[in-house]
């Protein structure tokens, strides 16, 4: 177990190294940073001085080493646009994105799994058919459209929910949370539904097909033959066996939720990292882009590690132990 975690951590270091390489190459190949930092009236000489001072004339490996060693301690340099440390700007916006993403993920699991179980158990029921049809809509409509429709309905027409922003936030150390105020929670409703709807339908459909698969197996039939209650058969025996693929997909999707919160954050003017990234692209603010890239890669690496550990918890067959399978006898 410990060996497994160590192995995964070493892999993760490699993954992060390569992402860092890609992020670093942004500095080199996406425009000239000096152009972005100075005005038109700056002379060539001043530009060269600045280039020298920022270390842009040093050899590549040296620059790269400087980049990753400072990134490793959370220093991503100074934003070209805002002239403030990138790490500070990200720390300011990270809580907004993480809260939105986590609430969406919880929402999609808490609703998607029961709906999937229901549609799996009552495959020909009327309600199942309604769920399946509605889920098609969820899968095929683009996120931003749903967001805009909701804004129109709940913010413009009914004026019960705010159309943009996070509402009031409370500071817990450096973390600003919107989960503790009514207006903060209200502001979360529409963005988290918009962001989570696709994953919700995906999880529902996944759980449904897995349930249909598992309910056909011999061990479910044998569980019924032992006279276990429907509840025990469906939730204890069937649902648990659907969990491995669900964990895989949920893990991947959580990464995507965080990474692709960009669109939702734009629609709802949500002050998160996605919006920061969009603005950074518009202004070729490379330090922010590089930092964002690294952050997202880090999230994916962490989530994948957690997913692998969850497999271990759920499926005993994946636990490598001595003394398995005792031949024939």
């Amino acid at each position: 177990m410990a060996a497994f975690i160590v192995r995964r951590l070493i892999q993760s270091v490699f993954v992060m190294f390569f992402v860092a390489l890609v992020a670093f190459s942004l500095f080199r190949y996406v425009g000239d940073p000096i152009n972005q930092m100075v005005g038109v009236e700056t002379s060539l000489k001043e530009r060269d001085a600045l280039r020298e001072r920022l270390g842009l004339n040093d050899p590549m490996p040296e620059q790269f080493w400087r980049f990753i060693s400072s990134a490793a301690v959370g220093d991503f340099g100074i934003s070209y646009q805002h002239k403030r440390p990138v790490s500070e700007m990200i720390a300011l916006r990270l809580p907004a994105t993480l809260e939105l993403s986590l609430i969406s993920a919880i929402l999609s699991l808490a609703i998607g799994v029961p709906m999937g179980v229901y549609t799996g158990l009552h495959r020909d029921g009327l309600l199942s058919k309604v769920f399946m049809t509605v889920s098609l809509v969820g899968i095929s409509l683009p996120t931003f459209l749903i967001g805009i429709l909701m804004i129109y309905l709940f913010a413009v027409k009914m004026t019960i929910l705010p159309s943009f922003g996070r509402g009031e936030v409370i500071q817990l150390g450096w973390w600003s949370t919107g989960l503790l105020t009514t207006s903060g929670l209200k502001a979360l409703i529409m963005p988290s539904i918009t962001l989570g709807l696709f994953q919700l339908t995906l999880i529902m459909r996944l759980v449904r097909s897995e349930m249909l698969e598992v309910l056909r197996t011999d061990y479910i039939k044998f569980a019924r033959a032992r006279g276990l209650s429907n509840r025990a058969v469906h939730f204890g025996h069937a649902l648990k066996n659907t969990m491995v693929p669900v964990i895989t997909i949920t893990g991947l999707q959580l990464g995507s939720i965080i990474a692709f919160a960009i669109i939702t954050e734009t629609v709802f003017q949500w002050p998160g990292m996605g919006k920061l990234f969009i603005l950074a692209i518009e202004n070729v603010d490379i330090p922010i882009m590089a930092a964002y890239l690294l952050m997202i890669a880090l999230f994916f690496v962490i989530i994948n590690l957690v997913v692998d550990l969850l497999y271990y918890a759920v499926d005993p067959r994946l636990r490598i132990e001595s003394g398995t399978a005792h031949g024939h006898g």
Binding site: K221, F222, A225, N241, A325, H326
Partner: protein, 324 residues
């Protein structure tokens, strides 16, 4: 009164091309503590009959007509939750493939305890003690260690022992064993059959042993029912059916078993194959393959007729039956 009675049971499968009759008016009974072997080729309706008895026909299969009685009480029309209290408690079941009968995500002990607690008021500690007892009874070595292991840590034979322990854990009065050894190595088959036979005679449990293995039947069963194309061809005491089979189909089946010390170049075999459910011939379903078929066999379907110690559904025995 017999422990289990099946009267004129019909199991149907509605399909797009019409209704298929998988089990066609079968009647049989099993007495307390008796082992009834049910043999036949694949698709003869053996497993279907077993599934109907435990109330676990896979949809869209359904019992169309007939009744199943346990202790004289009808159980074929019980609602799911009432049937549930009979399954496991009164009627246990063993299925073909021990590798897939156990839930891979729970330890053997958890599955035993769960079943015991479903049907009794035992505390978790008592149930665990009972689980250990059962593992010893079915011959699993080092049960204290094995009880906390997962199914994948057991071999096929050991898993079938666990399945037997699960089927027997609250002392049911009848066990429906559907091909309990087919998926196992030949060397282990005999052990498992011996175990099942010993446990059931110790506990006085009746067994409906569904198999296509005549050898297993000859060794284990008290009586045999031979099934062909969804119907019963012949029923009788095991000696009678094995040694002096009446129905030409049973004859054919017996002829296909190799006899030790009897030097035959070729085993006899029954020509042709069992008809598909979609085109069962009129008259006797066996007539296309029967060496003794007459015009009457092509025309009229024989119903099971009583003999001195059983039943046979064949026109050849009409006269004999009339004298009983």
């Amino acid at each position: 009164m017999a422990l289990l009675e099946v009267h004129d049971l019909v199991v149907e499968f509605p399909t797009r091309r019409g209704v298929l009759t998988a089990v066609d008016e079968i009647s049989l009974h099993i007495d307390e503590g008796e082992v009834l072997g049910v043999v036949g080729e694949s698709g003869a309706g053996k497993s279907m009959t077993g599934n109907a008895i435990i109330g676990l026909l896979e949809p869209p299969g359904r019992i169309a007509r007939g009744e199943i009685l346990l202790d004289g009480r009808r159980i074929d029309n019980l609602p799911y939750d009432q049937m549930r209290t009979i399954r496991g408690k009164e009627i246990g079941a063993i299925f073909q493939d021990p590798l897939t009968s156990l839930n891979p995500l729970y330890t053997v002990g958890e599955q035993l305890v769960e079943t015991i607690q479903t049907h009794t008021d035992m505390t978790p500690t008592q149930a665990r003690a009972r689980a250990l007892e059962l593992l010893i009874e079915v011959g699993i070595p080092a049960p204290e260690r094995r009880v906390d292991q997962y199914p994948h840590q057991f071999s096929g034979g050991m898993r079938q022992r666990v399945v037997i322990a699960l089927a027997l854990c609250v002392n049911p009065r009848l066990i429906v064993a559907d091909e309990p050894t087919t998926a196992l190595d030949v060397s282990i088959q005999a052990q498992i059959i011996a175990l099942l036979k010993r446990l059931c005679s110790e506990h006085g449990t009746a067994v409906m042993l569904v198999t296509h293995d005549m050898g297993v039947i000859a060794e284990t069963a008290d009586r045999v029912a031979v099934m062909y194309a969804g119907r019963i061809a012949e029923v009788g005491p095991v000696k009678q059916v094995v040694k002096r089979a009446r129905h030409p189909y049973t004859h054919g089946l017996m002829g296909s078993i190799p006899v030790i010390g009897h030097d035959a170049d070729r085993l006899t075999q029954i020509e042709g194959a069992m008809p598909r459910l979609t085109d069962i011939p009129t008259g006797c379903a066996f007539n296309p393959r029967c060496p003794q078929a007459t015009d009457r066999c092509l025309r009229d379907r024989p119903e099971p007729m009583p003999t001195e110690d059983g039943q046979v559904a064949c026109w050849l025995f009409e006269k004999e039956a009339a004298h009983v």
